[in-house]
């Protein structure tokens, strides 16, 4: 029964995809009527003006572009034109740095706050205010104070991805069952040992949920940040192609961004399954 369900789901996904692609192709293949043009004039104009071709590319165009990028993902033709593989590597590197820093800060701090009900109440308003701030709002401040655009991008990832982890760590630590803590106390377990052997395993699933939310946010932020500071990365790639009004490349990068985001999310989902325990 289980197998047939997943098989049926697979078939349905496939059918949906085919339907979407077909609809897309049909929607863009119609051409608007155009007036007759002087050939000399027409030579100076783009296809959408001369033949009425839709400015939106079809799935075939996008497929061809994806193939082109996959064939040669690591080319480097100067500082402003690099292959999509190199751009992705830059972005993932930045995310790893900013997110790594956020993990290093959020989990210990979350532990401290979680273990003290007073601190957790006192700091809550600050966290609540800073949490929903958009990455783009941090950017000018970061550029102005840090005075280095690549560090600013990392800082923005850090500041945006820290909050879900912090909140979840606090929540997980504070929610450790009283009975377990009492048992530890009866056995005269020291505070450090208690933190590592009792609270950490108890809070781990919640902490990892926070980390999973955060990696999603970090990946969302990197695209916006790179669009703004430019130079390298997948966000810059999108901006550069937008500059050329190349919708085909923009759609390609949307797919790639989604794919990488999914992989990052799945990695943490795996990790989460490892630490989950039955109650």
């Amino acid at each position: 029964m289980q197998r047939t369900l997943s098989m049926r789901a697979g078939i349905l996904s496939f059918a949906l995809l085919a339907l979407i692609l077909l609809g897309w192709q049909v929607a863009v293949s119609g051409s608007a009527s155009t007036e007759a043009m002087d050939p000399e004039y027409a030579a100076l104009m783009g296809q959408s003006a001369t033949t009425g071709k839709s400015a939106m590319p079809g799935p075939l165009d996008v497929g061809a572009t994806i193939w082109k990028h996959l064939k040669d993902p690591f080319y480097d033709r100067g500082p402003n034109d690099k292959g999509i593989g190199i751009q992705l590597a830059y972005s993932i590197g930045r995310v790893a740095l900013g997110y790594g820093l956020a993990v290093l800060v959020a989990i210990p701090v979350g532990f401290l706050i979680g273990m003290s009900p007073l601190m957790s109440r006192a700091l809550d308003p600050f966290i609540q205010i800073l949490k929903p701030v958009s990455p783009l709002a941090w950017m000018p401040l970061a550029l102005y104070t840090i005075k280095d655009s690549s560090l600013s991008a990392i800082f923005v990832i850090f500041i945006c991805s820290i909050w879900p982890m912090l909140i979840n760590t606090v929540f997980g630590v504070a929610g450790t069952r009283k009975e377990w803590l009492n048992v530890a106390r009866t056995l005269e377990v020291g505070p450090v040992r208690r933190a590592f052997t009792v609270i950490l395993p108890a809070a781990a699933p919640t902490i990892l949920t926070g980390m999973r939310i955060s990696i999603g946010i970090a990946w969302l932020v990197i695209v916006a940040a790179e669009m703004l500071v430019g130079g390298t990365g997948i966000g810059y790639f999108v901006w550069n192609e937008w500059n050329n009004l190349s919708i085909t490349n923009v759609i390609t990068s949307i797919l790639v961004i989604g794919l990488v985001g999914m992989v990052l999310d799945q990695l943490l989902a795996r990790a989460q399954r490892l630490v989950t325990f039955p109650e």
């Binding site: 655009s149 550069n240 009004l245």
Partner: protein, 453 residues
């Protein structure tokens, strides 16, 4: 007679005959005691800066009284080291640093800066320059202020704005070369092709690339000359160039005055037409500039001079129409402008589709002339004041001379066997009205529609 001279000073003559400040026997003696040459400009720049920092006399006096003159002078010169940049451009020496970064915005205005890379002009000066594409004007400004870029492509008014601290901290900047003259256009959505009279444009939403741009000032000028108040009758929006075409297609704006290849791109994509070229407003107007922080010039005079030589040579090469096709092919690829070749070619050769079904020929559509006339800066300053971006008094000539380094450019051009113009100022005509750089205040007064009081 000055109001506060000392009536008990035996040496001083009361009443008629004294000088304008009261401190000298005669007006001639007063003038002889005034600083001259560079010192005079330095003093004038300081005075302008003090006025900008303290718009109210009382505050200025209180500040000077509380900290003393020496401290005040030191504090102010931090914002604006007024020693002269010209000395920094010494004779050609070995560059202090050969790996340089120059930021640019992907538009044809940046042609000399960009082409100097693929066509080897930087290499010829022994420099290894990375030209880095940047997302927008504010980012270019911030990255140049951060020293991530050694020099950058900026809109011609930006270095003036940065020097005076409009929209950023005041940091003295220099424009040793203008990139291009002309080469902009007003582009309107195709639906307005029968609505060509600006008098009927009330309620239009128009886009400009940046607040401190000659695009902004030219569009405002053009609208105001036709009786449209740019602040109340239309909506002006600052929009990054690539988004202009998309916004025009989405019907969010009615048109824009934008740098080229963006205008031609709108035509190419069939969403807009060229209403007028910017040269029809002011033939020979400057658009973009090659800008360097004055600090950078002082820190590495030889490298900046070498960089500037490369730009001047590239500009001279670009100014010849027969080279334009070759340049278009060099700058159109993804590493630089990332535009279809025909769009860049149409802009640079001046044989272009106008979006209304005809092919126009105007080889002067864009021209490249590096000379940073001080008059350009003065005109820009009058417009900044006209639209309320500058409050208070401006010493037009001093600021212009401080930022637009016409004398330096002339010196380097001569060293390189190019012929610079004889003078650093000139008069020109904007929409039929002559601008005399010696009389900026009168010029400003002559406008009916303005924000300046």
């Amino acid at each position: 007679m000055a109001p506060f001279d000392n009536p008990f000073d035996a040496k001083r003559r009361r009443g008629r005959g004294g000088c304008s400040c009261g401190g000298h026997e005669t007006q001639a003696a007063h003038e002889a005691a005034l600083p001259t040459g560079d010192a005079a400009i330095e003093r004038a720049v300081e005075a302008t800066l003090m006025r900008a920092l303290f718009p109210h006399q009382a505050e200025r006096r209180a500040f000077l009284k509380s900290v003393g003159l020496a401290t005040a002078a030191a504090a102010v010169s931090q914002f604006l080291p007024t020693t002269f940049v010209a000395e920094a451009f010494a004779e050609a020496g070995k560059p202090e640093k050969t790996d340089l970064k120059v930021g640019f915005i992907p538009i044809t205005c940046a042609t000399p800066i960009i082409m100097a890379k693929p066509m080897g002009f930087y290499e010829k000066q022994g420099l290894n320059v990375d030209v880095v594409k940047t997302a927008g004007w504010a980012v270019v400004r911030d990255k140049t202020l951060n020293k991530e870029y050694d020099a950058a492509h900026m809109l011609a008014p930006m270095p003036l704005a940065i020097t005076m601290g409009l929209g950023s901290n005041p940091v003295p900047f220099a424009v040793p070369a203008i990139e291009n003259v002309n080469g902009q256009a007003i582009c309107l959505a195709t639906k307005h092709k029968d609505n060509r009279d600006p008098k009927n444009w009330k309620g239009f939403k128009l886009a400009i690339p940046f607040d401190y741009s000659n695009h902004n000032y030219l569009l405002r000028y053009y609208l105001a000359e036709h009786g449209i108040d740019p602040d109340t009758d239309v909506q002006l929006r600052s929009v990054p160039p690539p988004e202009m075409v998309a916004n025009l297609r989405a019907d969010n704006i009615d048109g824009f005055l934008a740098p080229d290849n963006v205008v031609q791109r709108a035509v190419y994509d069939g969403v807009g037409f060229i209403h007028i070229l910017s040269k029809e407003i002011w033939d020979g107007h400057p658009c973009c500039s090659f800008s360097v922080a004055q600090d950078t010039i002082r820190e590495m005079p030889n490298a900046t001079a070498a960089l500037l030589r490369a730009i001047l040579q590239a500009t001279a090469f670009a100014s010849k129409t027969e080279n334009r096709k070759e340049i278009a092919a060099a700058i159109a690829p993804a590493n630089y402008l990332n535009q279809p070749l025909t769009v860049v070619e149409q802009v640079l050769t001046g044989t272009y589709a106008d979006g209304l079904g005809s092919v126009k020929k105007d080889p002067k559509r864009v021209a490249f002339d590096p000379f940073p006339y001080e008059s350009f800066a003065i005109w820009t300053l009058t417009q900044m004041k006209r639209w309320g971006q500058i409050k208070g008094d401006v010493d037009y000539a001093a600021v212009a001379k401080q930022v637009y380094r016409a004398t330096d450019a002339a010196k380097l051009m001569r060293q390189d066997g190019l012929t610079p113009p004889e003078t650093t100022t000139k008069t020109f005509v904007v929409m039929g009205k002559t601008f005399d750089p010696a009389k900026p205040a009168e010029y400003l007064d002559s406008f009916k529609i303005k924000r300046a009081s």
